[in-house]
Symmetry: D2
Subunit: 283 residues, 4 copies
Amino acid sequence: MNERAIFLFSCPDQRGIVADVSRFIFEAGGNILDSSQHNDIETDTFFLRVEWDTTNLVFPRQEIASRFADIERRFDMDLQLHLEPRRTKIAIFVSQHLHCLYDLVLSMREGEIEADVSAVISNHEAAREVTDAFQLPFYHVPVNAGNKVAAEQAQQEILEKTGTEMVVLARYMQILSDSFATRWYGKAINIHHSFLPAFVGAKPYHQAFERGVKIVGATSHYVTPELDQGPIIEQDITRISHRDQVADLVRKGRNLERLVLQQAVKLHVEHRVLIFGNKTVVF
Amino acid sequence: MNERAIFLFSCPDQRGIVADVSRFIFEAGGNILDSSQHNDIETDTFFLRVEWDTTNLVFPRQEIASRFADIERRFDMDLQLHLEPRRTKIAIFVSQHLHCLYDLVLSMREGEIEADVSAVISNHEAAREVTDAFQLPFYHVPVNAGNKVAAEQAQQEILEKTGTEMVVLARYMQILSDSFATRWYGKAINIHHSFLPAFVGAKPYHQAFERGVKIVGATSHYVTPELDQGPIIEQDITRISHRDQVADLVRKGRNLERLVLQQAVKLHVEHRVLIFGNKTVVF
Amino acid sequence: MNERAIFLFSCPDQRGIVADVSRFIFEAGGNILDSSQHNDIETDTFFLRVEWDTTNLVFPRQEIASRFADIERRFDMDLQLHLEPRRTKIAIFVSQHLHCLYDLVLSMREGEIEADVSAVISNHEAAREVTDAFQLPFYHVPVNAGNKVAAEQAQQEILEKTGTEMVVLARYMQILSDSFATRWYGKAINIHHSFLPAFVGAKPYHQAFERGVKIVGATSHYVTPELDQGPIIEQDITRISHRDQVADLVRKGRNLERLVLQQAVKLHVEHRVLIFGNKTVVF
Amino acid sequence: MNERAIFLFSCPDQRGIVADVSRFIFEAGGNILDSSQHNDIETDTFFLRVEWDTTNLVFPRQEIASRFADIERRFDMDLQLHLEPRRTKIAIFVSQHLHCLYDLVLSMREGEIEADVSAVISNHEAAREVTDAFQLPFYHVPVNAGNKVAAEQAQQEILEKTGTEMVVLARYMQILSDSFATRWYGKAINIHHSFLPAFVGAKPYHQAFERGVKIVGATSHYVTPELDQGPIIEQDITRISHRDQVADLVRKGRNLERLVLQQAVKLHVEHRVLIFGNKTVVF
């Protein structure tokens, strides 16, 4: 794929933003490949994602940021600039359920998700069957009531030494600390096996079974200190009936969790998600 | 359509129920058209719906109940017997949003739902456009802080004098009393414009917008004294995005509410729903 | 809603289009509300829909076209300019199945579709129940083997005298002539009750039943001389099973046809559809 | 899971079938766990699947068939009797696309599908990465214009020596002979990457792209001599837009193919599918 740049930003809405950004790209010798915008009416905020071809750039790629700085300042942008293609380094946290881990690893192998696994970190040994099969770095970090701080310290060290850029909690059944959530804010994604905000917390399939719902869901969201309250990226659902016991919900939920997490990770890696308050803009 | 009978029951599970019921039908000269069963493992309860052709019945149709009484007693059944075809008399409660009312009326006209409107009851005048167009009996029962008891009394009198067998709250924005809910238990269906148990109570689309969900839903359930807590019959969802303001959710929800309520009323009228604790078995 | 203008166009792709269009809007005193673009790689064609607020326009609204003409020429645009809000005049053709007609009429009344019914034209009398109920102009134009040319002549006269801008075939069971299709090209939408290209032509539910599919669909497309071959705007599906007879498919298809046609008409009326070869770009 | 037996049959419809089958089970000391029936009105054919607990059987399990033979004859049943639990031996044919193979293997490991892989047979070497990772028997059978008969002979020998009971074509891109299809009739399942009957044959995603459909699908069906014409077991779809190039359809189709094939294999292995003419009854 050609060399591309992505501007992803929000700023206070005013007239002329698109005109200035598109003139910048034109004068830089770029060609817009894809552009999406959004105006939040309540807060008068403007969001833009513009992906542009930099093959015929009239100045060096590394200068895009500095040359764009004027426009960035003028419109008071909260800006991300991504130079593509490059592969994000993802650490996957997992406990005993391996279906999401398998799905992510296969999605990366098939080119569905442009990323690499920097580390698989688990409080159990089960995931070794995956990391052995695909020759991925496995880190066993046991977690118990007494060692939570030390374990998280160990995890953080692994993330640093492996150059991890993004954390995916792929059915990781330990609660991470507020400071971890804060440190990785906007870069850590969790899969929760319910249609949030329904059935927050532990055993959502049991909760769904008790309530007698006719549909169960899965939700992928950014990790925040408040459990299962972070900005939602993607959700999906599947139908159930009175015939389904908890074990059936668990089983039906597996395909759902896989697809929802896969999609959320893909969206993040392609720089299509902007966090805005406790919501997301997904381009 | 031929003359048919429907047995719909639950009872403690034991061996031989299906054998006895099917032998009864065979010896009565009937022919099973459709049969569905369910065993609830936790409580060891058995559920059956069997619809059978009574065209060649060897005794008068009115005797089915008395002749089946032995089996009913032996297995301690909680039994409903329905002789079909017949059209259920439905009273529709509505406030200012008319889309569900329109949909139900048209569904009955098209034969989608085998029922008739016994009354349209509203605390507003808006629904008159529907009842005038389709020549349906309209009852305006204003409700305000001071007259709630009298209004419900008036409503109950309308239901009685019109021979109403089922109540449908088709976006009726007044809360009915516990005694009303209890009196019509198992015969009154509400549509709630969220994916319950998410967003209980007032303004669910506003709540959904605030939380930033990527999917909104609608839920049809039996009315119980606890608001939006009754046994769920049917749910469905539709996708939304960051572009959708509350007004868009309201708009997108309309088709959803229509279809979910239509389906729930249809299932009830066809005697396909059994309430079981706070859940439903839907055959 | 505020006064707005919509540019909807395709043109050969080249650098600078967005820059020039957005500068034009900026200098005109406009503010972009919504913008979507698409590049067709195979043919190097660029598509844009941009909706912008004209409340503070620095020149009269009627001058937008002439002032934009330079840019239009320079990029060789195939341009539509729409000044909003305004309500499209729609003629609905229908035969004996009224569910799509009802749905469209109600969608316009509820503000879901910003349009008015200029005429309901039918080869049967059945639709009178709708036009009487909602006080719409009804035109009965009988069609038989011998009068097809005269009938279409009569229909065309009705369309002209009512100022009709768009034709919707809402389960109209007569085939229109090539010259009609050509005359109304890009302004006439049909609903076909199958998942095209499966089950072209007559009795698609019978065909679907014979093939034993597990899903049936509906397709809304622009009318062209080739039956059921026009550019597709919208499709949707619903699940069926071995239990469903042809009559059940017809019944289940009704909600589907309603929603698919409603959505296609809405997209067209909001100027979100561009025909491109035998496909559509839907913004 | 407990010991269970499954009766799966079709027979000419007549009164008393359910009565006799359920009495047989009752007198055998069995308990019905799940029962589904269907009457085909056109041909007056009756279908039943009944799954029953044989834990307290009053005679040896091996005698079920002989003791049931009277009833089987009397009603002229086309009967399958399955004694569960047991794991079906499945051979998976695959070419270069590995996503369906991975999904099936993982589904069996997770207990989602109660079966084992007897052989992975491929005309390419690509699948070795899967069979090596999961220690499955891999058979490389190259196929070219000159060796088709010999290759199929080799495949058949592998199927026999491995005791294979079911064949799954998991994106196997070679056409099998009529005699192979006939020999494995009712025991071989294919995944076709379109919404059949649309886009039969080669390159369905290219065909879908050309036609400009808004939805693509996948279909799982029993293999018959006529290409892509066999009885359909399961179908599903996903939305696409004008933005999607052929490569995007291929990508989006992957998850779809996986899920549809997984579901079809699961249904077959659980003895929930009866072929009837060129259709299926799926209980």
